[in-house]
């Protein structure tokens, strides 16, 4: 990464010698969304240098998975990005399904899309809540957001048995069909959600404080975003129209009509608004999927424990945070020889320093909030 830092010398003012101040933010700072630390060098209030320090939540995910069968590491993928267990499951299932070449039934494909879009709503709505929390709007926006999130988590609980650690996807389909009446309840949530979004936009999007705190703050240029491998809403906020749901069209995303919003400035406000707009598109996909779903089996003819032929596969999806990929190398045994996760949180975090340099210390908190990281996925 190139250093864009201006060469700050010790400043001489009125004959008094001043020095840079080193502040260690975290690992228990409330704004760092988990155990994450930033070593910040400050000149007054201006950030001169920033060093992210992470790894406090390292749980050996990849090595663990190499020592157990393919199915057994499915519940561990829930714990990567614990807001989006459904999409994590899907990315891993996609990779493993390439290994064993199994057909996924139609109904399972629809349910997968429904679950993924509900997850996107959960992620974005809580991100926006936390982002406002970082801005200093303590409580109210986050509570409104969590009120809506809880309705979707109820749906997850009814379908999979758990609110957050769903462990719902299987190679070749889903673990079980949704219970009776579930689709109706999902439609109710999808119908009511735009009402909440309207209210939320009224509450926030024209607020002068939010505009002045976020516009022009933490600008990520289009060029840097592309060269640093940034994906997801953050890349689109910088003006790149790239969405794996359109590019790869994994699953049955080619059947749905939706738009991909993208920003211009690449500042914190764009990143915030992208999420607001994406939620509306997710609801569109949800409604189409709920219209199109038909009865049928949800599990293909896939074995529980299997020995795939030696091969290398990469399965990726457009997670709510960016491109989530699983890279597997099979060597003919029931366990993967190599298991690698491409975590969007970690890779999006790499540009934190470039966005913060030259800004104020209070802005680093907002910039970090707008990246949307979950430390479970950064550290794995």
């Amino acid at each position: 990464m190139t250093s864009a830092a201006p060469n700050y010398e010790l400043l001489q003012q009125d004959g008094l010698e001043t020095s840079l101040l080193e502040v260690s933010m975290g690992p228990h700072h409330p704004s760092t969304h988990g155990v994450f630390r930033m070593d910040v060098k400050l000149d007054g209030e201006t950030v001169v240098d920033l060093k992210p320090v992470f790894g406090y939540l390292h749980r050996n995910h990849e090595k663990l998975a190499e020592n157990m069968t393919y199915l057994s590491s499915m519940p561990f993928t829930d714990r990567l990005d614990y807001f989006n267990s459904m999409t994590n499951n899907w990315a891993y299932a996609l990779a493993a399904e390439k290994l064993i070449e199994v057909e996924v039934p139609e109904r399972a494909e629809y349910l997968r899309v429904i679950m993924a879009e509900l997850t996107r709503l959960v992620n974005h709505v809580s991100l926006v809540g936390f982002f406002l929390n970082d801005l200093g709007a303590l409580g109210t926006p986050l509570m409104y957001a969590f009120r809506e999130r809880e309705k979707i988590l109820d749906l997850f609980e009814q379908a999979s048995g758990a609110r957050m650690m769903c462990n719902y996807f299987r190679f070749g389909g889903l673990r079980n069909d949704v219970p009776e009446g579930w689709l109706g309840r999902a439609r109710e949530v999808a119908d009511r959600f735009p009402v909440f979004l309207d209210e939320y936009e009224q509450l926030l999007c024209e607020n002068e404080i939010i505009l002045s705190r976020t516009q022009g703050v933490g600008v990520l240029s289009r060029e840097l975003a592309i060269s640093a491998g940034i994906t997801g809403p953050m890349l689109r906020a910088s003006g790149v129209n790239y969405d794996l749901r359109k590019v790869d069209q994994y699953g049955i995303y080619d059947r749905f009509k939706f738009r991909v919003p993208y920003g211009e400035a690449g500042d914190c406000y764009d990143r915030f608004m992208i999420r607001m707009l994406e939620m509306r598109e997710s609801i569109e996909i949800l409604k189409q999927a709920l219209d199109g779903i038909e009865d049928g089996p949800v599990m293909g003819n896939a074995p529980r424990v299997f020995k795939p032929k030696p091969a290398e596969v990469y399965g990726r999806i457009e997670g709510p945070k960016g491109e989530l990929g699983f890279y597997l190398i099979a060597d003919g045994t029931p366990k993967p020889y190599r298991y690698r996760v491409r975590p969007p949180s970690l890779i999006n975090l790499t540009v934190l320093r470039d966005m913060c340099l030259g800004g104020k210390i209070a802005d680093t908190v907002i910039i970090l909030g707008s990246i949307d990281i979950v430390l479970g996925e950064v550290d794995r």
Partner: protein
């Protein structure tokens, strides 16, 4: 955007509407939304709350059909160890992602629910402080012996022994399973019955085929013998 601070006032109006609304909207008055639950599954009064330890909050255990907490072992009723389904094959122990199951196989065989002499688990411990409720053990079990319980009041002052659930505490009857997960249990029973029927049909077919084969063989042998006899006669004639 016309007047400075207009957006703030607009936002404040939303907050105020929510604040006042929380006293008047019917659906906002209760914190818990149980609207998706059947009427008879709602906790009716404070009297439903368990008074004795180990007793469950009545009917709230069936939060959903798929709710899961920690595994339990199924038996088919009667004396638990006489009808236990588990044959100590140890597949769940191997597949368990956090490795929280410990099984010791019995040394001698005993008749189980199916009427066949089988091994049984001499020790079957689940460390629920390690278990992550993922349900992999349920899915890999070929004997439908282990399923998820929905009992959640498991707090104990005994940190080590109290969170290690032993075999006898894990054993629950199939009736209990039907009570906590009615739909899932019915589907499982149906599948087991189908599989059993299919197996018996196959066995029957195999037995019939064997009889037929034996008959054919006898016939062929008889034919061969008669041919041989004919040959002998021929030889004799020459």
């Amino acid at each position: 955007m016309s007047i400075l601070g207009g957006g703030i006032f607009k936002g404040m109006a939303v907050t105020l509407r929510n604040f006042v609304g929380s006293y008047f909207y019917r659906d906002r008055l209760v914190t818990n939304d149980y609207s998706w639950r059947p009427e008879d599954k709602l906790p009716q009064s404070i009297g439903d709350y368990p008074k004795e330890k180990g007793e469950q909050l009545r009917d709230t255990t069936t939060v959903t059909n798929y709710s899961r907490n920690f595994p339990m072992l199924l038996h088919d009723g009667g004396e638990p160890m006489d009808t236990v389904r588990c044959v100590a094959c140890q597949i769940c122990e191997r597949e368990c992602p956090p490795q929280c199951i410990y099984i010791e196989k019995s040394t001698e065989k005993k008749e189980n629910a199916g009427g066949k002499p089988q091994f049984y688990p001499a020790t079957f411990d689940i460390d629920v402080s390690v278990c992550m409720s993922c349900q992999i053990c349920v899915e890999v079990c070929p004997f439908d012996a282990i399923v998820m319980n929905s009992q959640f009041e498991l707090s104990t002052p005994n940190r080590f022994g109290g969170l290690l659930v032993r075999r006898d505490d894990l054993l629950k009857s199939n009736d209990y399973y039907h009570r906590i997960h009615p739909e899932e249990a019915a589907a499982r029973d149906k599948r087991m019955a189908d599989e059993k029927a299919a197996k018996e049909a196959k066995k029957k077919a195999a037995a019939e085929a064997a009889i037929k084969k034996a008959e054919e063989k006898a016939k062929a042998e008889a034919e061969a013998e008669s041919k041989e006899e004919a040959g002998d006669k021929k030889e004799g004639a020459e």
